[in-house]
């Protein structure tokens, strides 16, 4: 098929033919076309179906405000639903299909909705029905409604493209590269300011590319081209076409989306789009304006489009939207379309101006009707005829409608700014409270006349430059065409019997808005919500003002008093892939790896995510069938001989200064002042509200030097809290903290043979016998011939145990050395699971117990709150409701019947008590199978637990149908006297 409606001229490259397909039909266009212009060139007018009534729809605009022409672009995983044909650059092998219809586009079975149901399914109908019988909503009504939901469909496959982000800093961000934006950029750029000029279009110039304006005796589009060439030569100017400034945020930060490969057949692995964060000192909004439609009977037929887009298609793309084009306008600008067509010798079927005034242009041989209106149109899949208020019928195949222009004030509203109504322009213009450091110029500011826009643009640029201490620009306002713009407050044709569309995509009609009023939904927000006007993918860019005006008429208020709906970001829809950028899949968040990670991988360890850390969970051996088998072995051989575990992930904080001990006294509940050098002490931290926060050991290396360890989960939070105490609560303390978590590899060496194993790697001048290096000792030593290290005699497992710290770079070497040296003791590496088993066997609280809801009393640690000193949380921990007689207590649990499987998360009820939350006594926090006791054991909180040793209670677990009786016991299952650690 040839391009039947392609005419001469335009800013397209006819040497580069592009093959593409629409609904499976192969077509051709040129480089520089949009999908919309190419479709029009190929004589295609029907391109989609509306949301609710499935009305046939055509291309209505030539920009990002398009409500109708949405397609599914590309194939397979690359499919992009709801893509505006009017902004898609044509590329070779582009593949698009229309959306939201059953069967072929030109015979949509769902169209019946329009023909038969429409009287019943107007605004808000579903709020009034589908209620009886109740059950039918879920089972019948809603599934039907949901089936009709949505327009395009996702591929249900992972987005194969990649995206990137970036940060840009500038003095002045200029939004929009039309005449106003370009001139401002020239002025600012030449004055040396760091400028970013962004425009959503691939071809900069704005309306200059669609009109036949003259600037400085040049055709507007040529002037734009020259300006851009000039700007590209300036190093301090960054030109960003295909870039939408989608949001304005606090303190001069703007969100920008740059489309890098959307105009290409394939991204070839490069980022498809880049989401920029632009930090600007000042911004100039020169985003132009959007032409509005007028509502009249059947004003939504294919072939009806805004008057300015008819000019765009003719002038910019060399496309003829219609062979007999009628024009319906309420303002002077509509006449420009008639002139453009007539000057090219194209047929203008008629010019209908709603105003009773003199014709604006003299267009020879054209039927001109002043003060008349269109009440109806015919032609289901393409307009055939228009019928005027006086009954006159005029044949046409294209209708250009101009309802006046609306400045693009969106970005001025993103920070709560409200536009103000201008009753001479009949449009909303930027209000008083603009985002800080933003100025507006050109038609975005209501300066619809080109000469005025240029004048304003230069003025504004100079103000901004002066504010930023740059010298004023020397350039002068270029001379340009200077035609007037008179508009009228005419919104819809009252005489129309037929439905007149306001929001094309969501099928909101004049009637719907009037009904909304009739039912009491009279504030704009109510009307929007009740009719869904302005909520489609175009966010009401073409419809909001109309709807507002109609509601104003109903309420008898002015449009200003009727109000406006605040525009919210983004200006145009942004792919979620772009907002996520690189943070996807495995790159969602960084990995932290332990020093023994590589070695553990070689051992075939199974890893587990602990925060951002990857830790070895267990080390399976050949022949072991279940993880339990592996973990049981790791526990038994550690308790029987010796095991090694990488505990590097625990937070390590270096604390130095003359006041370090006093500092620790404030952050810990227990006292550290008298802790001798060379000793370690277990410490408990509370939140100021008296809830247990974190625990760990702190060692005193020298008088003014401590090393604190925190739990893995709280390392960052504790450090933050310490800085708060240091800077905000005790600003004059001489204490300094720095994290050394990553600086030291730390290994727990546990079990009866741990000392003998360590003696083989520690340099022999260091005596670690029980006498010389007793429980809770610490000292700086050297290992493996003079490598500095730190040794702590502390135990989480309850065995004779040590933690050996060594500079991270030696961590890999050390684990291998320990395994080598430990062969004779059959040393075993153990993971977090065995670590957990052994701590439960010892009744040590961990994350499941220190869950931010438990007090020292709950945990049985109340004696750790030193009564002779202050500490964070001490006062509020004394509140009565947290110290009741029957408080929850951490105790141990055994199954009543040996071998019964305990599970964490079970709730405790007294035997025979009704299973209701009022009888809830507490919960099981941690469980494991203890290979030592050959039975399941658990830790949990239960009211009065310390008074109920030996009681049998019911562990309720409906979640896993595993309710059973358990016996309350001491949480210290293994070696309660603690002989082993001191051995």
């Amino acid at each position: 098929m040839t391009q039947v409606d392609r005419i001469s001229g335009g800013l397209i490259n006819r040497k580069e033919t592009m093959n593409f397909s629409f609904n499976g039909k192969s077509l051709q266009g040129y480089k520089g076309d949009t999908l919309a212009s190419a479709l029009l060139a190929n004589g295609i007018r029907l391109v989609g179906r509306s949301f609710k009534y499935h009305r046939p729809r055509g291309i209505f605009t030539s920009g990002s405000e398009e409500p109708n022409a949405l397609v599914e672009l590309r194939k397979g995983a690359f499919k992009e639903p709801n893509t505006r044909a009017t902004v898609i650059e044509l590329f070779n092998r582009l593949d698009a299909v229309s959306q939201n219809h059953k069967g072929p586009l030109n015979f949509d079975l769902m169209a019946a909705t329009d023909l038969f149901l429409s009287p019943f399914v107007g605004a808000g109908f579903y709020y009034k029905t589908f209620m009886w019988p109740a059950a039918f909503w879920e089972k019948l009504y809603e599934p039907i409604i949901r089936k009709s939901a949505g327009l395009g469909s996702l591929a249900k496959l992972e987005d194969p493209d990649c995206y990137d982000k970036g940060f840009l800093h500038c003095d002045i961000l200029i939004v929009g590269a039309g005449p106003a934006g370009l001139l401002a950029a020239l002025a600012a750029g030449k004055s040396g300011a760091k400028v970013i000029l962004a425009d959503e279009d691939f071809l900069m110039g704005g309306r200059l590319n669609s009109e036949l304006f003259e600037i400085d005796e040049m055709l507007g589009s040529d002037w734009a081209l020259k300006a851009i060439q000039e700007l590209s030569s300036l190093k301090n100017v960054r030109i960003m076409n295909r870039t939408t400034i989608y949001g304005s945020y606090d303190h001069g930060i703007f969100g920008a989306l740059e489309r890098c490969t959307d105009h290409l057949e394939s991204s070839e692995g490069r980022p498809r789009q880049i989401l920029w964060k632009i930090y600007s000192k000042k911004s100039i909004l020169a985003a132009g304006a959007i032409e509005r439609p007028i509502a009249f009977g059947n004003n939504d037929r294919p072939g009806i489009m805004t008057a300015s887009s008819v000019r765009s298609y003719v002038n910019r793309w060399g496309v003829l939207p219609g062979r007999q084009t009628a024009i319906f306008t309420n303002n002077d600008d509509g006449w420009a379309t008639a002139k453009v067509l007539a000057d090219r010798g194209l047929e203008v079927a008629a010019v209908i101006d709603s105003r009773n005034c003199e014709p604006v242009e003299n267009i020879p041989g054209t039927l001109v009707i002043m003060g008349s209106k269109i009440v109806n149109t015919t032609g289901r899949k393409r307009i055939k005829r228009i019928i005027l208020s006086n009954g006159q019928s005029i044949t046409c195949d294209c209708l250009a409608v101009s309802g006046g222009w609306s400045p693009n004030v969106h970005l001025t509203c993103h920070q709560g700014g409200r536009p103000k109504w201008d009753s001479t322009l009949n449009a909303f213009t930027p209000g008083e409270n603009l985002p800080k450091n933003m100025v507006v110029s050109g038609s975005a500011n209501g300066s619809f006349n080109l000469q005025a826009a240029l004048r304003e643009s230069l003025k504004v640029a100079n103000i901004v430059l002066t504010d930023l201490d740059f010298k004023k620009s020397k350039i002068v306002v270029p001379s340009s065409s200077d035609d007037s713009y008179e508009s009228s407050a005419f919104w819809y044709v009252k005489e129309s019997k037929k439905r007149g569309w306001v929001d094309f995509q969501n099928d909101v009609t004049v009637k719907d808005i009037k009904q909304s009023f009739a039912e009491g939904f009279r504030s704009v927000e109510h009307m929007k919500r009740y009719t869904t006007m302005g909520m489609a993918t175009d966010q009401g860019k073409t419809s909001n003002i109309l709807g507002l005006a109609i509601m104003a008429e109903c309420t008898g208020k002015t449009i200003q008093d009727t109000g406006t709906t605040i525009f919210r970001p983004p200006y145009t829809p942004i792919p979620l892939g772009a907002l996520a950028g690189r943070s996807r899949g495995k790159d969602f968040r960084p990995y932290r790896l332990t020093p023994s990670h590589k070695w553990s991988e070689e051992q075939g360890a199974v890893f587990v995510e602990v925060g951002n850390w990857l830790r070895a969970q267990w080390f399976p051996k050949k022949g072991e069938k279940t993880w339990r088998e592996t973990v049981d072995r790791e526990v038994v051989s550690t308790r029987n001989s010796v095991g090694v575990c990488d505990v590097t992930t625990l937070g390590k904080i270096d604390i130095q200064g003359k006041d370090s001990a006093d500092f620790l006294n404030i952050v810990y509940t227990n006292a550290f002042g008298k802790l001798p050098v060379g000793k370690v002490r277990y410490g408990l931290m509370l939140r100021e509200d008296g809830i247990a926060y974190d625990d760990g050991t702190t060692a005193r290396i020298s008088k003014n030097h401590f090393i604190m360890t925190t739990t893995t989960a709280n390392a960052v939070l504790v450090f933050r809290r310490l800085e708060f105490v240091r800077q905000c609560l005790c600003p004059d303390m001489d204490v300094h903290i720095i994290s050394t978590t990553d600086a030291w590899a730390q290994f727990a060496v546990a079990g009866p043979n741990s000392r003998r194993l360590l003696e083989k790697v520690i340099d022999n001048e260091y005596d670690i016998s029980n006498e010389k290096f007793p429980f809770m000792g610490c000292r700086e030593i050297t290992v493996c011939n003079g490598i500095q290290a730190r040794l702590f005699r502390i135990s989480f497992s309850g065995e004779l145990a040590y933690e050996l710290a060594i500079p991270t770079r030696y961590g890999d070497g050390l684990i291998r050395q320990l395994m080598e040296a430990g062969k004779e003791f059959d040393v075993t590496p153990y993971g977090t699971e065995a670590l957990g088993v052994m701590r439960i066997e010892k009744g040590h609280a961990a994350g499941n117990e220190l869950n931010g809801q438990t007090t020292a009393l709950n945990l049985g640690l109340e004696k750790m709150i030193n009564q002779n000193k202050d500490c964070i949380g001490k006062i509020l921990a004394q509140r009565p409701e947290m110290n009741k007689e029957d408080e929850m207590r951490l105790v141990g649990f055994r199954p009543k019947n040996k071998g019964d499987k305990l599970v964490a998360g079970a709730h405790f009820l007294d035997k025979g008590a009704k299973e209701i939350i009022e009888n809830d006594l507490g919960w099981m926090s941690s469980v494991c199978f203890s290979p030592i006791l050959d039975d399941y054991i658990g830790l949990g909180f239960i009211k009065n637990g310390n008074q109920r040793m030996g009681d049998i209670v019911h562990a309720y677990d409906k979640m896993r149908h595993n309710s059973l009786d358990v016996k309350i016991c001491s949480p210290h299952f293994v070696d309660p006297e603690g002989d082993r650690v001191r051995g």
Binding site: D250, G252, C728, P731, I875
Partner: protein
Amino acid sequence: MIIDHPILGPRDASEFVYLGDSSLINRPDPSVEEAAQLFYEYQYLRANIAGPMKELWYHEQGDRSWLVVTRNTITHEITSVELARDVARSMGRTK
């Protein structure tokens, strides 16, 4: 948002961690009789100002300093940024 750090200059707020009302610097004296009441008010009651509010931000991804930022909670405009340590001292806190 951008916080104009008194030493480092303007930095994106995402480098900071927010705590809340700067009155949290004013930790009561635990030794006085009405300590329970004072700590209750200190920890739980907030002016929750609609307008310029002094609040604590921590420059975790920067110089680790705690700042007192005066920010309008209606417009988000920031009018002053001080080092919390200086503020604490000016409130008479020492060791």
